[in-house]
């Protein structure tokens, strides 16, 4: 009997213009999302390539300029832009970048990759900041967000599922055909299942189309990441199917079910995440960045006032360098000594911002489970490698590399020797996080989705015991 109903349901769906309209909408949305994602990935690649090319061309320009200065074809610039000085080259002329290579899945989920840079320019004199290399972007567009495959999965697939599901049983009841069907030797449960399965197949087909489009356009797609991404997408859609089943197995009209499901979508997908954002920001408010700028000014003034004391202390620690400069200190030593002092003064203030952000994140880690959309957004970005954890790992590596750059340049700058070692500057190499870490971060989301889907499904199944009033 199940087989018969299943086959007839497929025939009915094929004749239903509404079903075709919904599918056409979903396919167009997914193709558009893939097109957009591919463009975004190409853009990240182009920026990384431009950074690499600029690194090389800046080196060549510095070498040529140094040669011109040496042959007196050009007057020597001030030390801050002098290619023959380690200080001037490192801070004024060098184009040295820490580059976070994009994963192919950035095409599926832009995540935080449009907000936090994958290219960080590094110079020894300035401490890198997380958004230091941010691209200019239209703030209105950042507010709106991107139309990528993750958006299609998180927001549009639930709408498609709602459109396919809202009148699953009540449609038959309202047309009066449910009573006829139930007069046959069929239980309400098997009728429900036979009508549900073709709809599940449609959604599976849509996700399959997405995966096929991705594999076709990105031949060297990262297998494990794609598998995780698809697992999150599948379990998230399973949750929405279970939610829809739980609603439509209740009494009520098609219209009531459509309204209930649309309201759930609005609350779970838009209102709760925005509310959680508000809660997180209210419970752990971020101090204003103006405070940091004021503190920076105060620290710079303090360091300038104590200039001679600082220089004295420096030469006591480094007597071997004292002969190289004038006794009162020279520009480069002064710069290094004062900036060390300023960084020392600012460190506790910077830590406050980091701690508060960590506090926000730990709140979010708990609260996010109130909204499946928020969990899915995090998990999809995480499996695509465009989430915050990978970005923070990259930043930590960039900071470590920055220390390496200082160790390379600062002694050379202080010795005031002629600098030619432009090709010996240590390069940055991003070390990818192990996939087991990614899987461990995504696993709770998968577990939550699957268990909620099972619980709701079970509930719907219990509700579907045949009741005399159902017909």
């Amino acid at each position: 009997m199940f087989g018969t109903i299943f086959r007839w349901e497929i025939r009915a769906l094929r004749r239903d213009p509404a079903c075709w309209a919904v599918m056409a909408f979903a396919v167009v949305a997914m193709v558009f999302a893939m097109f957009n994602g591919a463009r975004w990935l190409a853009h990240i690649d182009a920026v990384a390539a431009a950074a690499g090319a600029r690194d090389v061309s800046a080196r060549v320009e510095a070498r040529e300029q140094a040669a011109r200065i040496d042959t007196k074809a050009e007057p020597a610039p001030f030390i801050t832009r002098d290619p023959r000085s380690a200080f001037g080259y490192a801070n004024g002329l060098m184009a040295h970048y820490a580059v976070l290579p994009p994963t192919p899945l950035a095409a599926l989920t832009a995540g935080q990759s449009d907000l936090l840079p994958s290219i960080l320019p590094l110079a020894p004199a300035n401490l890198p900041s997380l958004t230091g290399g941010s691209e200019p972007e239209n703030p209105h567009r950042l507010l709106i967000g991107r139309f990528d495959a993750a958006f299609a999965v998180i927001f549009l697939l639930p709408l498609v599922i709602i459109a396919l599901m809202y009148a699953l049983l009540t449609g038959e009841r309202e047309r009066g055909t449910l009573a006829l069907l139930l007069a046959q030797p069929v239980t309400l449960r098997s009728l429900f299942a036979a009508k549900l399965v073709p709809r599940v197949l449609i959604i599976l087909g849509l996700l399959g189309l997405l995966a096929a489009l991705f594999i076709l356009t990105m031949p060297d797609g990262a297998g494990m990441r794609l598998a995780l991404w698809l697992a999150v997408a599948l379990s998230y859609t399973a949750l929405w199917f279970a939610l829809a089943a739980a609603v439509v197995s209740r009494r009520g009209s098609s219209a009531t079910h459509a309204v209930t499901l649309a309201a759930l979508w609005l609350v779970l997908g838009m209102l709760l995440p925005a509310g959680i954002n508000l809660a997180v920001k209210t419970l752990a408010p971020m101090p204003s960045r103006i405070e940091l700028i004021l503190a920076l000014r105060a620290a710079t003034d303090a360091a300038a006032a104590e200039r001679s004391k600082l220089m004295g202390a420096f030469y006591e620690d480094h007597p071997e360098l004292a002969s190289a400069g004038s006794p009162t200190g020279d520009f480069v030593t002064l710069q290094l000594v004062t900036s060390q002092r300023v960084e020392h003064d600012l460190a506790p203030i910077l830590t406050r911002y980091q701690n508060q952000l960590a506090h926000q994140q730990s709140l979010l880690d708990k609260l996010q489970f109130l909204s499946p959309a928020l969990v899915a957004e995090t998990a999809l970005a995480d499996s695509a490698g465009t989430g915050l954890p990978r970005q923070h790992l990259f930043f930590a590596q960039a900071l470590a590399h920055h220390a390496e750059l200082r160790a390379f340049f600062d002694p050379r700058a202080l010795r005031k020797e002629k600098f030619t070692a432009r090709d010996e500057v240590p390069p940055f190499r991003y070390v990818e996080e192990p996939m087991s870490d990614v899987a461990a971060r995504v696993a709770p989301a998968l577990a939550v989705f699957v268990s909620i889907a099972l619980a709701l499904g079970l509930w719907a199944w219990r509700t579907l015991r045949r009741r005399p009033s159902d017909a």
């Binding site: 200019p136 703030p139 838009m270």
Partner: protein, 357 residues
């Protein structure tokens, strides 16, 4: 030092703020749809529409009545929010707030009206209440969620921003190019020599460091203006595309106008930046002129005194006028009015051709 709010926020920020705008732009239209979708289709299904029409009721009276009833129900719901809004504005708002708030209210009335009239128009034509509901919720989803992102990405494809690395390199090269500054310096020096009728630059009774600093600044202004123009032009073009998108989806229009009237859009932010930069430039000019007017012997430094700092005017920001904001958003405003008139016509026609069965 440059910071982005994104550095200090979690991923939840991507879902936006829970603002009044979110409620008005997204939640309220859904409420309107739920109240109105069965206005005609429901009456038809229950058979009461035939009764109503058999009483000789003119269809236009019917639609007016339905619209007014819907409006009444909505204003009851909105009344507390309006009271709170007006009170907040009176207690904490700026002086110029009242006309902006009044206009904002009008724009949202238009927006909500569009949904109410559209719901009536669809309900009048729909074969069943269920059909009307699904069509309306579909449009709501497209309008509130899909349209902003789709049009925003389309706008970015049409008007891409410059590639950041080479943009920065070009700007740096233009800034450090010595040719324009030395040409400008030569010209200014010649002018000074003429002004003081001196024999040469060495005889000028001024400190040339002041001139050199000012020339360096002015070269920077020219470069920054050019490059920031190159950066902001595509952003503004993108925002214009988003505004014109209101032709298809009213959400895009109301989003733009609402930000404009609240003074939180890109154009008004840029205006503030422009004013602050103009202030900074005036201050730098005062300082450099002072340096120029006070020649020093080698090794000496001329410091400013309180009298000099008193010359720097206060920074009093004059925000753009309401007229300026309205001109900026004229397209979106016109499109919203067109939407309202269009949906009103659709609802009217729908009522005129109402089929009782």
């Amino acid at each position: 030092m440059l910071y982005r709010p994104g550095e200090d926020a979690t991923l939840a920020q991507r879902f936006g703020e829970l603002t009044v705008a979110l409620i008005l732009q997204v939640v309220l239209p859904l409420v309107v749809i739920l109240l109105a979708f069965d206005a005609f289709a429901g009456e038809r299904e229950r058979g009461t529409l035939r009764q109503l029409l058999s009483l000789g009721l003119r269809p236009r009276d019917l639609i007016l009545g339905k619209t007014l009833g819907l409006g009444g129900a909505l204003s009851l719901m909105a009344a507390p929010a309006v009271v709170v809004g007006v009170a907040t504005l009176l207690l904490t708002g700026p002086a110029e707030g009242a006309p902006r708030f009044a206009l904002l209210t009008l724009v949202y009335l238009l927006y909500i009206g569009i949904f109410a009239l559209l719901a009536l128009a669809v309900s009048a034509r729909a074969p069943s209440a269920r059909f009307a509901l699904v069509v309306l919720i579909g449009f709501w989803g497209l309008n509130c969620l899909l349209a902003p992102r789709a049009v925003s990405d389309l706008a970015a494809a049409l008007h891409p921003l410059p590639e950041p690395i080479s943009f920065k390199t070009r700007m740096q090269q233009a800034l450090t190019d010595p040719a324009p500054t030395s040409a400008m310096l030569k010209e200014r020096m010649a002018a000074l020599v003429k002004e003081y009728a001196a024999a040469g630059t060495e005889e000028l009774p001024v400190n040339l460091a002041g001139l050199s600093l000012q020339v360096g600044e002015e070269h920077g202004y020219e470069v920054f203006d050019r490059f920031y123009g190159e950066l902001f032009a595509p952003m503004e073009a993108q925002n214009r595309v988003l505004q014109r998108g209101a032709a298809l989806f009213p959400m895009l229009g109301v989003q733009a106008i609402s930000m404009g009237l609240a003074g939180t859009d890109l154009a008004q932010h840029r205006d503030f930046i422009r004013a602050a930069e103009a202030h900074r430039r005036a201050e730098i000019k005062i300082i450099n002129d002072d340096i120029l007017a006070h020649p020093v012997k080698a090794g000496e430094v001329h410091d400013g005194d309180p009298e000099l700092w008193a010359k720097v005017p206060r920074f009093d920001y004059e925000p753009p006028t309401l007229g300026w904001v309205l001109r900026e958003h004229a397209t979106a405003l016109a499109l919203l009015v067109a939407w309202f008139l269009g949906t009103a016509w659709l609802a009217w026609r729908g009522a005129e051709r109402l089929q009782p069965l």
